[in-house]
Amino acid sequence: MEFLRPATWDEALAAKAEHPSALPISGGTDVMVELNFDRHRPSALLDLNRISELTAWESGRYEGQEGEVIRLGAAVPYTRITRELSAELPGLALAGNTVGSPQIRNRGSVGGNLGGASPAGDAHPALLAAGRDVLVEAESVRGTRLIPIDEFYVGVKRNSLEPDELIRAVRIPVADGPQQFSKIGTRNAMVIAVCAFGIALHPKNGTVGTGIGSAAPTPRRAVEAEEFIAGELAERGLWQSGGLIGPAAIQRFGELVAAAASPIDDVRGTAAYRRHALAVMARRTLTWTWNEYTQSLRSAA
């Protein structure tokens, strides 16, 4: 096994081009488990810890994305996301705060979740919910490729990166409405998601974003649920009135979220439970975000 220690991003890209099978390691919170438990022996480890721009974020405006965008370095640890970006990226900040333990959150990052592409990665539902224009910056010596988040996850623990590409950053629009994230685990801390759900209200364009974790081969959005609830809110003029969504629509939203999942029975939970819990989390988080939205309307009035 080789251990590659690029000092700069350009060196990292060059190293990845030269060793396409090298496994990038940043926080190590997934990679090292694989190594310690003898599940994986890559030809080389590509250490990204020395590349300081990966642990920085900036806000700005970017082509192809509306409004202000956070360009989140791939290796910004979850602790910092929760501490520094809970106003701009509230869904991701909440999700980040459920990752592993405080020690894990000091090392783990969105880049790692994306690189591993495990359906249980906590960042995914929040990223999906944040909007279809969330973009993953994949870079190689060949240049930069912006991958829409909906096209990023392609299979169980598989993503759409090319072998010579590394994740430089994720571009996430700053929240224009309330966001929430809920996750099920069978204890009250330090759990891998049995299933998880992210939701984001987007009052600017009248859409609702969702993301489902750990209940399908890949993270996915609940498209029908999104369309259904956006339709309800639009048809009934609720975005403007801030009126109650009502139990029937909330119930239906939950059902559609559950229906969007294709969970399996495994050691962490049954498929039936996952569907059930997704429906409950969908109902609750929709209620929370909508209450927050209506309060903001009232306080703005």
Binding site: K183, T186, N188, D265, Y273, M281, W288
Partner: protein, 785 residues
């Protein structure tokens, strides 16, 4: 030339403190532990040491057709590869029944059974070498369910009939019947106004001690082996290791290295024989450290159980009879199964007077992981079932569940279903009264929500929705010490001499300090008995006689008792020295504050002056009062040394929509006879309660067709600090006159009643029957097994 890393706990630990028994002096090993200098078994290190590792079967039941080690042997950095063919001595070992091969011979009986071992210069070298060993298997159908185990004609034998040892036959490791009163007949049933039946299941719990199995075997010049090891019982390890190595016991010397928790899981051997075999073969020190994954395959677990109970009672709540059957899955090898069966049968009625009993407890061989000792064994499984029965009965009768228990509670003088009289305090009703009388925790404040207070916590699953509170009670009974006629004993050596002008007592035992604080208590006993401040604890090893196991809540009773006896002998000799020298004829002498004191004449002489250059060095054995085996057919007999009782009240919040649970408070009351160290006593009760909480709501090794599906801390969950609530503890001290200082073993009882109390509280919140532990979100939401 450096040898073993000379951390201080492998030498003497000295503490100076005025506190004798009843005080809470600080642990003598505490400073080393907080500095990170305490040497645990996995910290052992030796120049030129090799790393040992085992190849384990991916199948639960298979015939081994061939093992080809040729490629592994050639792997650079590998110094030895061994299979059963290379074992110089006996091929089998075992705690009670020698039925387990040190390395698999011909057949695999459980997932993870060791087949070959490797010694290499680095763990990674060893792993790569293991990967080069080629094993051909003929996979056999697994024998895993009760039905399959009990029908060997159809489904086969885990051990061939001619291989059976001890009492075992068929696929039954051990069974125990118990009949008392009139048994349970139609006539007896007719005496009951109400009948409650229930089928209960207890999942396979793991000890999940944090320090993985590990140790260092160092070959000695005399052809023997020195083993530095984390274990619960040095001498019984040696008894099992030496024959396999083909060595006399005196050439296998064990020293206790730091033990990172035990809870029963270190009562059986794990890597001991393998490390010694490799050290013998290579002539080099060999260290083995299990990974967490290997640890799940490397030790026995708590027996999963199926329990069928039928209770009859009168309308006013008096129990009339109990008919019960407990089936314990012992897995591939016997381990402690016979003792677990004995406990389940004899304690399976709980701390209740039940006039008529018919009980059968049985442990089966299967192709599941081997099960053996874990905190409270046999009694834990039964307690979950009989306490669920009590709640059901109370509900049926419209009675308060605590009152129902109190009406039927045993007390001093009660006769157990075994016919044994409880001849020491048994304050069962009072313990229940005490936990019930404690103030209840505050209601959940939904106006100032902190998600950390509610089920799901930071996972942010509820902002108050779906939360229902429940309260539940339970009480249990556990035996202390080894039962059924076993002449359990412990040995202590105490040396009193003057060092630097001060009298210093040195206590030497083979007691395994696994975290429980035995070393603290030994210092306290020596101070109390010898009136000294300075006590030195000698490292535990096999140079002194056996201390028995650190298990069965017995160690303070047994080895504490031995230390007391040895101290008394030393004191007598010291006093005799004084009588001889000064012609004392006082009969009221004691040793206090470093002086010999007469109650009538005051201070006579400092101990240091009396001793001078003399060292008094005496060894004593402590035996408890004798017990007898239970009658095979009726279960009758004076089988237990001592009983111990603990009661719990659990308060839980349940998110009834999501099936998530947060235990809000877990209060306990326990009679400890005499709290030799009150701080440690409370620590034991809280720790034991938490393991019971874990079994109630999360802990289970999931096994399917003999395969372990969650051998990791990612998927075998134990309670975190956010799962564990405040735990108020009431400690009673009603002396047992048969025991040293009147003490009562503490460690296990809290593990019993905690589980059923938590589940009772969840039942109260949800109205669900919940006949299985651990309770999973699926059970609370009707979404599957």
């Amino acid at each position: 030339m450096s040898t073993i890393r000379t951390e201080k706990n492998l030498q003497n630990i000295t503490t100076a403190h005025p506190d004798g028994i009843g005080g809470s002096p600080l642990r003598p090993d505490g400073i080393l532990k907080v500095r990170g200098e305490f040497a645990y078994s996995s910290d052992m290190w030796h120049e030129n040491m090799l790393w040992g590792m085992a190849l384990r079967s991916p199948h639960a039941h298979a015939r081994i057709l061939s093992v080809d080690i040729s490629e592994a042997v050639k792997h650079p950095g590998v110094e030895a590869v061994m299979t059963h063919e290379d074992i110089p001595g006996a091929k089998y070992y075992g705690l009670e029944i020698k039925d387990q091969p040190a390395l698999a011979m011909g057949k695999i009986r459980y997932h993870g059974e060791a087949i070959a071992i490797v010694a290499a210069d680095h763990p990674e070298t060893a792993r790569r070498a293991l990967a080069k060993i080629k094993v051909e298997y003929e996979i056999l159908p697994t024998i895993t369910t009760e039905e399959q185990c009990l029908d060997p004609e159809t489904y086969g034998y885990v051990h061939e009939p001619d291989e059976y040892k001890g009492h075992a036959s068929g696929n039954v490791v051990h069974s125990q019947k118990l009949i008392s009163g009139l048994g349970v007949t139609d006539e007896v049933r007719a005496l009951a106004d109400v009948v409650i039946k229930g089928d209960y299941v207890v999942g396979m719990q793991d000890q999940a001690f944090l320090g993985p199995e590990s140790g260092l075997a160092v070959p000695a010049e005399d052809g023997g082996v020195d083993l530095y090891i984390a274990t619960q019982w040095l001498h019984v390890d040696r008894e099992q290791i030496a024959p396999v190595l083909g060595l006399p016991e005196n050439k296998v010397r064990l020293t206790l290295a730091g033990v990172g928790g035990a809870f029963g899981g270190r009562e059986d051997l794990s890597m001991q024989i393998h490390a010694c075999l490799l050290a013998q073969r290579t002539g080099k020190p060999v260290k083995i450290v299990y990974s967490r994954e290997e640890s799940f395959f490397g030790h026995v677990h708590r027996h999963p159980a199926k329990l069928t109970y039928e209770h009859g009672a009168t309308r006013d709540g008096k129990l009339v009879y109990c008919d019960a059957r407990i089936v314990l899955d012992g897995g591939a090898y016997a381990s402690a199964s016979p003792a677990v069966v004995g406990n389940a049968a004899s304690l399976g009625m709980g701390p209740y007077e039940v006039p008529n009993v018919n009980m059968l407890a049985v442990a089966l061989y299967s192709n599941n992981p081997s099960c053996g000792a874990m905190r409270g064994f046999g009694a834990v499984q039964a307690c979950f079932a009989y306490e669920a029965q009590m709640d059901k009965l109370a509900a049926e009768l419209g009675m308060d569940p605590v009152e129902l228990r109190q009406i039927n509670a045993v007390e001093q003088g009660s006769i157990m279903p075994t016919g044994q009289e409880i001849d020491a305090p048994a304050p069962v009703a009072d313990l229940l009264r005490r936990v019930k009388a404690l103030p209840l925790p505050q209601e959940l404040d939904t106006t100032h929500l902190d998600v950390r207070d509610i089920p799901g916590a930071l996972s942010n699953t509820s902002h108050g929705e779906g939360i229902v509170r429940g309260v539940g009670y339970a009480v249990g009974i556990k035996n202390v010490g080894f039962s059924e006629g076993f002449d359990d004993y412990s040995t202590a050596r105490v040396r009193l001499e003057v060092i630097g002008g001060e009298p210093v007592a040195m206590v030497h035992t083979a007691m395994a300090e696994v975290g429980q604080g035995g070393v603290t208590v030994h210092g306290q006993i020596a101070r109390t008995e010898l009136g000294v401040e300075q006590v030195t604890i000698h490292p535990a090893n096999t140079e002194v006689g056996s201390a028995g196991s650190t298990s069965a809540s017995r160690q303070t009773y047994m080895t504490g008792g031995a230390v007391k006896l040895a101290c008394e002998a030393v004191r007598n000799e010291l006093v005799a020295l004084g009588r001889k020298r000064y012609g004392w004829d006082y009969n009221d002498l004691s040793l206090v504050g470093g002086k010999v004191v007469s109650a009538s004449a005051g201070v006579l002489v400092p101990i240091a002056d009396l001793l001078g250059d003399t060292a008094i060095d005496l060894t004593r054995e402590h035996h408890h009062r004798p017990t007898v085996p239970f009658d095979k057919e009726t279960g009758q007999g004076f089988g237990h040394v001592q009983y111990t009782f603990c009661a719990h009240r659990a308060v839980v919040d349940v998110d009834v929509e999501l099936g998530l649970v947060k235990v809000v408070e877990l209060a306990a009351a326990q009679d400890v006879g005499k709290a030799l160290n009150p701080l440690s006593v409370v620590g034991q009760i809280q720790g034991g309660s938490t393991q019971g909480l874990g079994l109630a709501v999360m802990e289970e090794i999931v096994v399917k067709d003999g395969k372990v599906r969650n051998p990791s801390f990612t998927d075998y969950l134990i309670p975190t600090i956010l799962d564990t609530p405040p735990m108020p503890v009431e400690v009673l001290e009603l002396a047992d006159e048969h025991a040293p200082y009147g003490l009562r073993g503490v460690g296990e009882a809290p593990t019993l009643s905690s589980t059923p109390a938590v589940v009772a509280a969840i039942r109260a919140a949800t109205g669900l029957a919940l006949n299985r532990v651990p309770v999973r979100p699926e059970h609370l939401t009707g979404t599957g097994e």
